[in-house]
Symmetry: D2
């Protein structure tokens, strides 16, 4: 088992308290790493996450957005992200990946070895990293992945 | 466990031998009951089954079409179905549900208590009927259902 | 000006009387040649014609379907077509292209030199053939073509 | 004839020189007023403008984007817009509507009496304002509008 690295988040939206993967044991976690000005994220990934969020019971599946800004930092800061979230009426928790302080890929992105956005990550009920893919994954495949992890008994 | 009723099929397409659910133990069976002139089947259900067939390994998931003609029998006979299959380049096995001989719903349709088309049915690796729904089911939900059944160990 | 050849139709649906292009002078005619078991027709062309029919005023634009069966005649006869029309709730007039009596392309199809289905044909307010294309034409292009012909003054 | 008000633009992208409607006489102008963080613009309007730009000859149809920021000014400035344009590979000219200096709707937006974004505006070959609509307009309707204006002879 490869334990999913912890989320290093500078600021959260849509949640009253910081989320930690360690506290989500028992749930399947669908982590969507995106940038608010990445077309593949906006046109495909984010709408898909809205569908995932609407489809599954929050007691079973936790959908989390992770804003992994690795370019154009000046125009994708938290204030811009907040407008993006509000305008798109995103309801699931979204965290700002911790900047590395030098304008490079932020810390969680680096920990996971992500190579771009969107990246879809699935973490099982025990906290293991089970799937990570850059680019578009279609609904049927995403559903199957979630379904398989849902079927596994919690520890 | 509710064992899925046997398929009562008058004629098969896209398979060299008749299929029996009892011989598909160990696989998840995705059964799509349709009529070739039912718009919901043609515009949604059949394309979805093509995606399911392309997405999953045939060793794990068996996609089967079942032509459950319960109306307009004269224009949806086997010869017409064959043209439909060929023109749409459907590659998965398709069976003609056994007519009841009196122009009513055919026998498998009746056994399952289906109320119309399209109807999506999922049968687990042990042959149990696990899901049956009339109408459109979106890809995310279909994927999740298949994924959950795939995760269950064969007997 | 190339006058559009007359429609040679064996049987009409969705109209109380036979339609003749000569009586449609003053309107833009959108003629959609299709076969009820041609996937490109069913999945793209027919839904597009429904949109065209809904979009434009019937006093300006006449949408006509033409069932140009050139293969599999036995399963695409008028009885099957009637079920297709009813099930898809098509509301525009649809004519059965006159069979040639020898199992080849029907007469109107031959007159226009159509090479397959779907074929989209546009006829202007004066009865001139202005556009004919095999295959899918996207909505923007279809709209522009209709718009251009609408702008031309009736004779 | 209602002459289309002049564009009051603070900064242009994708054009080496400022555009003026008065210099576009002879062309049909498709003006798309948007905000880069307006979901209806990003998911519908902008992709539609890309299709319009690809469909029509630039000698006949001028597609122009107008960034009419009337809210959240701080996160939709020209630097952010430039990233949006680059990431989405938008190739048509886009102007930043002139701010009113008080955080309200910008000047061109106000001149046209636009009530929000996206707003689609069509200007004919003679410079007359012929169509203005807030919200989504489908491709068939947009095509028809453009087609009708294209058919009108330049003065």
């Amino acid at each position: 088992m490869i334990e999913a690295p912890a989320l290093d988040v500078a600021q959260w939206f849509n949640t009253s308290q910081a989320l930690a993967l360690s506290e989500l044991r028992g749930k399947v976690v669908v982590l969507h790493a995106f940038q608010m000005l990445c077309p593949g994220c906006v046109l495909h990934g984010i709408p898909q996450m809205q569908r995932v969020h609407a489809q599954f019971d929050g007691d079973d599946v936790a959908v989390i957005g992770l804003h992994t800004v690795f370019e154009h930092h000046d125009v994708m800061g938290p204030a811009a992200l907040k407008v993006f979230i509000d305008e798109n009426r995103l309801a699931f928790p979204i965290g700002v990946d911790q900047p590395d302080g030098h304008g490079g890929p932020p810390r969680t992105m680096r920990q996971y070895g992500m190579r771009g956005t969107p990246t879809l990550i699935l973490i099982d009920r025990q906290g293991a990293l089970r799937f990570q893919q850059l680019g578009q994954v279609d609904d049927l495949a995403v559903g199957a992945l979630i379904g398989q992890l849902l079927a596994e008994a919690p520890r």
